[in-house]
Amino acid sequence: MRRRTLLGAAALLPFGARIVSAAPPAETITPALIEAAKKEGKVSYYTAMDLSVAEPMAKAFEAKFPGIKVAVERTGAERLFNRLAQETASNIKRCDVVNSSDAAHFITWKREGWLQPYVTVDIAENVAPEMRDPDGAFANQRTHLSPMAYNIGLVKPEDAPKAFNDLLDPKYAGKLVKGHPGYSGTIMTATQQVARELGWGYFEKLAKQKVMQVQSATEPPKKLEAGERAVAVDGSDYLFWMARERGVPIEVVYPVEGTPLISNPMAVFKAAPNPNAARLLFAWIMSGEGQEFIVNLSGQYPANLKVKAKAGRPPLSSIKTLREDPVEVEKTADEIKAKYARIFKV
């Protein structure tokens, strides 16, 4: 509802009216910021990242800046979007920093005026221009993929799928597990990309394969690890890899049609109850140290170009990825959810 009215309002503005970027000057972490943040003593971090990465990252921040407690509010990106809309509509100010796996949300939030432009020197110097908002309202925190994967104990490598279309083979019926675009931003973003490349007919056929429908993109890796299903149709790549590195017999498959690419923007909320701690957390996550922490723990692809990707993971450049299109996702998200629910019945 809100999306559409605002879209209408935006269409009235002359295109190209903005010539100069509205981005504020780049800042660094100053002792004054740390001091002010410590006075606030807490910060809330809304994220869709798996708890096994988000919580340790929060603890690393707490260790670096003693006296500031991080409350991690993790749920699926689509749920976050819903919660933030309800909380803002009811004038509940709780969110300090928001980070989501659905980049389209940041377009909406920026237009609503919910985001506080904030640029750090790390962002200005080390983040590629296409990975950050020209007005400094948000910046990509990290990138991950939504590949397929299988449990080696349950599927022999020669029987493993190589392409999305392979999954339609009757031999995979009842063996597939899949996340939900009504919950997960990763799956929402991936669904838009796959539907664009393969058409909705692919999903209609897939729905006949007795797919086990879970919610989060973080769950297919866990269902594979438990041995509950043999093949994951989608899911967060870093969790497949983390399980594999723990010794779980999982093989990641980058489908021949291309792998959905998901950026994970982050922003400081304008109504942040702890504005200084919010800036500090944001700045630290985008710094070399914060980025290295995420990369070392999870092997996601860092937004900060100074930080190297994790050794042992395939470099992003070596993978054929699908084009991410947040603008299109923003326009069609409701339609995608409705179509998906009709096809998969949940």
């Binding site: 819903n82 429908q213 409701d334």
Partner: protein
Amino acid sequence: MPGSSRSEAGSADLQVRSSIPEERTWRSALRFDLSRPVLLAVTALLAVMIVLPMGWLIAYSLSDKQGAVTLGNFVTLFTDPSFVDPLITTLIIAVSVSTICCLVAAPLGWLVARTDMPIRRIVRTLVMASLVTPPFVGAIAWEMLAAPNSGLLNQLWRSMTGMPADEALLDIYSLTGLIFVIACYTFPYVFILLANALDRMPGELEDASSMLGAKTWQTARRITVPLALPTLLAGALVAFLQALNLFGSPAILAIPAGFHTLTTRIWSLFQFPPKPELAAAASLPLLLLTILLLRGQALALGRRGYAVLGGKYGEPRLVRLGAWRWPAAALALLILAMPLFLPYAALFNSAFSRVASRLVTLDTITLHNVRFTFLELSSTMPALKNTFLLATLSATLGALLALLIAYIVSRRAVTGHRVLAFLATAPLAIPGIVLGVGLFLAYTRPPLTLYGTLWILLIAFITIELPAAYQQLSSAFHAVHPELEEAGRMLGASRLRTLADITAPLLRSAVIATWCFVFVAVIRELSAAVILFTSETKVLSVLIFDLKESGDVGAIAVLSLTMVAITTVVVAVANRFGGGREASRLPARAAG
């Protein structure tokens, strides 16, 4: 009879008044009697809690997005397959659960109450203990046991039969699986109703039957079964209502299987973009069906009266099972394995294991999940704090409110007390998720913008538990003779003072038992909380549900066991203070 003694007291009052008219009037004007304002305040409070949300629910169901009046939501509801299918599924579930519960609870209740089965006291206690398990926790535990591939029971079956990896004995992600799990945590309600009724059933009738030459089975068929039938029917209705209005178990098992029930569908309408009008419309069939069935239940239970009317009856005679004693006990234990032994084994396994689908051994046992839950997960402590604050407040305020209403109604203290009795029992007809939707619609707007505060959850919890609390306390009031209070009143004490000094001490154990049951019920409530929480007001049940959606079963196992441990302690305290009778009377509805 309370009525006649009241009028006697009234005439006594008049006589006193006429003998010393002036002084009396003067004093009563000074000592303002609080009963009328109290009645008004309580009625207003109940209206805010119940009438306002339900009013908004109906208003929303009859309006479109722009707020214009329409019947379009109901047209959608009864024509769109995405609503009709869940409606049919829900009815199938409710009928099946109700049937299964009766089939299991009737023999078990009979074995426990009317036979010399060994360990029958233990069995009765354990069936009641199984009610401490929140249904959604039970559903998660059964996932660990009977997921087709990773389920521990399926793995066991495959290793015993040598079946290949794809073959599964049980599939919990199915309609049958869901019905089974709901039945596991619903049959105890039927069991308790039935066992209590069988306890009270006069033994003389059965004795008479056998003296007249009837065989054991004839007595059973002609006497025991007809006497127990109304209770069984009432139990069937309770089970039907439970299954109809349950949210947690379907959300956990139905969605992975690819279908919705009415409650999960209503909840899905609150996901973005929220469609409160449709959610409101979809809530009304649940509401109406529940009201209808409760009327039915009242009729069925009303008929039970003839079985217990009359003077004092002897203890019912126990049927000797002879050689069947131990097989019967084994059957009882097998039934108990379903809601109790197996799920808790799975939860413990999962709590101390890295992967829930593998059995913990001494080599693989790990505290990883415990550490993660209590040291890393930043939501744990706030959720525990919110849960206990809300449970304590709801229990305290709920018990007080119920006490006040029960007093006013049972003593007919003021005219209009019937309205109070109705309002206090009305929430029984409101499913948790429907109340959640109604409160959401009513309190996300001025003048009372309570959404996002703990208050809205407090209102929801008190409202949900009020009927059970009220029923418990009102029956306790019937045990305290009004003459005691009237003595206090005649000696010049105000009504409230009489209540505090005379009635309250006599009701102590019932009040404590009520407090504990509201406390326990609030801790396990999910269906209203899942609609009303915000990130700041997350409670334990919602946290577990959140973790379920991202598949963090280890943390879920740790949290669930913590939750159940705390609940068990409170129930134990309830039994200690409340004594057996009140404590064995469970709240008429479960949260879920």
